[in-house]
């Protein structure tokens, strides 16, 4: 018994200091809370401002799948927001109302073990919320994944590589790389684009936030997705599944064209490579170096599939899957020293002498 009595006495002393601690805690609490709230205000303003200009904001959808997702997300955010508000309020209230006050510090509060009714209520209500969320979710899953394919869909086969994108239009006879062109889709007479997703090596993921949710490209596991962009323009994205050293620079650039521009682009892409006698020397360099092992240029002997198709290289704004702008200097640098632009990419340094390099770049720049 003696030990127990000692403990009770010491409890009295401890309780004194606890009382003062509680006071000090309240003041520090208030100041800390205020600064935290102020911080959040600044942050949310910053966030709001930056998000307005981001070209990859998921809440600025421009295509039906992306729009269905935003609608579902607003529904989900509303429900979770309400849940948050209620539970947050309960928490703050319980902390404020039931904090130990110095006068009552010597006695223990009522020892309540539970309440069957309350516990039943807070089991049933979340279950109902979950049922509602599940139904809403399942509906949108089916709407997007099981959407019937219209006859007017443009079909593109996307083959992901380490670290670039190959695009083939099987019905239109076009093969290109890294910059995708698709037609805009009129909501009244939709012309969606159906993407068949394959991989040549490891796992990748195709993500253009404003046009659709992402879908992975997994070797030996073909996937498909669709999008029907509602305005013309450039849409950006990038690979979203870690695929190796240069996962970060496997960028996506989609040009949504008017029907006329799209037809024009297709027509140009179907042409064989431009033949310009003035750059014949450069063409010879290309054809006699290892370039032809990896690259294709239609109308020449080069028919490699390991690297991007270069037939219409100059029709692209960027090179190296978006890692650099398509300029003369960058082309030169990419051929001579790819590690400087995209370290770890699978493009080898070609080790050409200066005159060969000049000729080669000159030749490539004619490939419109």
């Amino acid at each position: 018994m003696q030990q127990v009595i000692l403990e009770l006495h010491s409890r009295g002393h401890l309780v004194q200091t606890w009382g003062m601690e509680v006071q000090r805690v309240k003041i520090t609490c208030r100041t800390a809370l205020c600064s935290v709230v102020f911080l959040f205000f600044c942050l949310s303003s910053a966030a709001a401002v930056t998000s307005l200009t981001s070209p990859t904001n998921i809440f600025v959808p421009e295509s039906t799948p992306a729009k269905s997702i935003v609608n579902l997300s607003i529904f989900v955010l509303t429900i979770t927001g309400i849940i948050f508000a209620i539970v947050f309020t309960l928490l703050v209230y319980s902390i404020a109302k039931f904090r130990a006050k110095s006068e009552s510090a010597n006695s223990e509060p009522a020892q309540v073990y539970g309440s069957a009714q309350i516990e039943l209520a807070w089991t049933i209500i979340p279950t109902l919320i979950v049922v509602v969320l599940v139904l809403a979710t399942a509906r949108v899953i089916h709407a997007i994944q099981d959407a019937p394919k219209p006859a007017s869909a443009v079909e593109v086969t996307v083959i992901a590589h380490q670290f670039w994108w190959e695009y083939r239009y099987p019905q239109l006879g076009v093969a290109t790389a890294n910059e995708l062109h698709i037609p805009v889709s009129d909501p009244v007479h939709p012309t969606p684009t159906l993407l068949r997703l394959l991989s040549a090596d490891t796992d990748h993921s195709f993500w253009i936030p404003q046009l659709a949710g992402k879908t992975d490209l997994v070797p030996n596991h073909p996937n498909s997705m669709w999008m029907d962009p509602e305005r013309t323009g450039i849409f950006l994205g990038q690979c979203a599944q870690y695929c190796g050293t240069q996962h970060a620079k496997m960028l996506l650039r989609v040009s949504v064209d008017s029907p006329h521009d799209f037809a024009e682009w297709i027509r140009e892409q179907r042409q064989p490579a431009v033949v310009d006698e003035r750059v014949a020397a450069g063409k010879r360099v290309f054809e006699s170096t290892a370039c032809i092992n990896c690259h294709t240029i239609n109308g020449t002997v080069a028919s490699g599939r390991f690297g991007p198709d270069l037939t219409h290289l100059m029709s692209r704004t960027t090179i190296a899957a978006g890692a650099a702008l398509n300029t003369s200097e960058n082309l030169r640098l990419w051929i001579q020293d790819p590690e400087a632009i995209k370290p770890g990419s699978l493009m080898p340094a070609m080790q050409l002498n200066k005159s060969d390099l000049d000729a080669l770049v000159g030749y490539l720049e004619t490939l419109r």
Binding site: V4, T137, Q145, D203
Partner: protein
């Protein structure tokens, strides 16, 4: 000396040589010492994993940064994830379980003390093996390197073709070895709880921490083993020419994903359930009331354990499963949120009507409640599958799981540290330093991880060593990095507190918090044998019964 005279020389008490002390610690099979060894080794790896995180954050501080090369960055995020999950979070929770479970059930030690020691050393040496990869990773070919395939090592990235050298082998072997240690601990905890309880301690009278660690141990048995199996298959592929995940031979990369996440999802519940256990012990004591709804808390935890084995493919919503599979996993994922939410309500119910004392352990628990609420809700958002087609693989997910692991589990762990350090060392941690630690870490945490959701919503994928300007991610990443540094400072304060208080902290006595479970009836630190006489309990709060003989719990249970 003459035969009938016994001279008693002046007594000389020599300091035990430090070699003997070290030997004692290295060869110990005492659950308390092993618990402390687990905790210390986890703190060691926590600092290393934290440095890796800081390197990541510095590289991402603005677009097109070149603080580290992509190769180094990819190793950093792989090692950071692997270290934090397997060599910080799991061992530190095993450490607390090891220390507390026998004490709380009135036992002398764990059921298998030598297996316990074996498990610890397997775990620790697994960690050292992983880090040896920095030196030995490439095998014979030159400077070594660490694994860089992400902590999931998705097929076929982990195959020989895409991961030459030995870096992926270090990942595989380190986790296989420490995985066997974890299974040993799981078996040990189950055997201890089922077979070593003191008289009167029926299963329904065990402290919730014991119950929850029992559920966790059961989950370890069926969660870690799928990963071990998959890793054996990976080794077969890499070394015996097998085709388990070889897509060129008709194998399936998705199969690896299934196996990995069949491990990976229950694994995070293995991590969070002990955190729930800490809350269920600390909140009642500092609200001065028993836990609200003990039976439902047990049932909810068992439910979480069971349902969590059916949710794994919510990590694979973008992989291209059909709409029925996606819907199924959406249902199970949202369903597991129900018992989890119930627990939050029960903790609030415990605080309700109480007399809350805002000592540092309670501050961390309150932080947990706010943060786990948010983490759970962002989880529900991702369970809405189409929404997840945007959120998955982006920084939104990174923010979500750090919210759970740092904002939830680490906060609960800090609470546990402040609460049980007095029992383990006999000294109180400094309240003042503790409050600085709490507020600084809270601010840094929210600065980093609240903001981190936004780049995800703005299209920033994860695991990228740099990003393009003009996407709106620059300022946000800067703020995130600043928060990381603030958290680092707070952790340093915490470590300082641990060290300084060990020498200068106030004497704790047996029961500094006026608590109710059996560990508080022993001295601080407890003697090697724990209890001089085998305790006998008649309720869930044996010390409450002793302190309130006029109103014992045993009348109401």
């Amino acid at each position: 000396m003459s035969s009938n005279a016994i001279t008693v020389p002046e007594l000389q008490v020599q300091e035990k040589p430090w070699v003997d002390t070290l030997h004692g610690w290295v060869t110990t099979v005492d659950h308390k010492r092993l618990g402390i060894l687990y905790i210390l080794s986890s703190l060691f790896f926590l600092v290393i994993g934290g440095v890796e995180a800081i390197i990541i954050r510095i590289q991402l501080i603005h677009s097109h940064n070149d603080f580290v090369s992509p190769q180094v960055f990819n190793r950093m995020f792989t090692m950071h994830g692997t270290t934090m999950i397997f060599f910080v979070a799991m061992p530190i929770l095993f450490g607390f379980a090891n220390y507390l479970v026998p004490l709380m059930i009135g036992a002398r030690d764990m059921a298998f003390p030598r297996l316990n020691a074996f498990s610890f050393w397997l775990s620790f040496l697994g960690g050292l093996l992983l880090y040896f990869s920095f030196l030995g990773g490439s095998g014979l070919y030159g400077a070594g390197n660490a694994p860089d395939v992400g902590w999931w090592a998705y097929a076929p990235l982990g195959a020989r073709a895409f991961s030459p050298g030995h870096s992926s082998d270090y990942w595989t072997l380190a986790l296989l070895v420490s995985g066997f240690g974890s299974i040993g601990t799981g078996i040990n905890i189950i055997a201890t709880v089922l077979c070593m309880r003191c008289p009167g301690m029926k299963l329904g009278r065990m402290p919730l921490l014991v119950w929850l660690n029992l559920v966790m141990a059961g989950m370890v048995l069926i969660a870690i083993t799928p990963l071990s199996a998959a890793q054996i298959m990976l080794l077969v592929d890499r070394y015996l020419g097998g085709h388990c995940f070889d897509t060129q031979a008709g194998g399936s990369a998705v199969l690896w994903m299934h196996f990995f996440w069949i491990f990976g999802h229950p694994e995070v519940y293995v991590l969070v359930i002990p955190a729930f256990a800490f809350l269920s012990e600390i909140i009642p004591v500092f609200s001065r009331k028993p836990i609200f709804g003990y039976p439902v808390m047990v049932a909810a935890t068992v439910a979480i354990g069971l349902v969590s084995t059916s949710v794994w493919a919510h990590h694979m919503f973008t992989v291209g499963m059909n709409s029925y599979a996606n819907s199924f996993f959406a249902i199970t994922t949202m369903a597991v949120g129900i018992p989890t939410g119930i627990k939050i309500f029960n903790w609030i119910g415990t605080m309700w009507g109480g007399r809350i004392q805002f000592k540092v352990p309670m501050l961390f628990c309150i932080g947990f409640l706010f943060q786990f609420l948010i983490a759970g809700l962002t989880g529900i958002m991702q369970a809405a599958v189409p929404f997840d087609w945007q959120l998955s693989l982006s920084y939104f997910v990174v923010a979500h799981f750090h919210y759970v692991i740092v904002g939830g589990i680490l906060f609960a762990l800090f609470g546990a540290f402040y609460y049980w350090y007095p029992k383990m060392t006999g000294r109180m941690l400094s309240e003042r330093l503790g409050k600085w630690h709490f507020w600084l870490f809270l601010i840094g945490f929210h600065l980093t991880f609240d903001v981190m959701h936004i780049p995800g919503l703005l299209g920033m994928p994860r695991r990228i060593y740099t990003y393009e300007p003009g996407r709106g991610w620059d300022t946000l990443n800067l703020v995130i990095t600043i928060g990381a540094f603030i958290q680092a400072i707070a952790i340093l304060l915490f470590v300082a507190n641990l060290i300084i208080s060990y020498f200068k902290g106030a004497e704790a006595g047996n029961d500094p918090w006026d608590a109710w479970t059996l560990e508080w009836s022993t001295s601080s630190p407890p003697p090697a044998y724990n209890f001089a006489t085998v305790p006998m309990v008649e309720s869930r709060r044996p010390l409450w019964d002793l302190k309130h003989p006029e109103d014992p719990d045993s009348l109401y249970e």
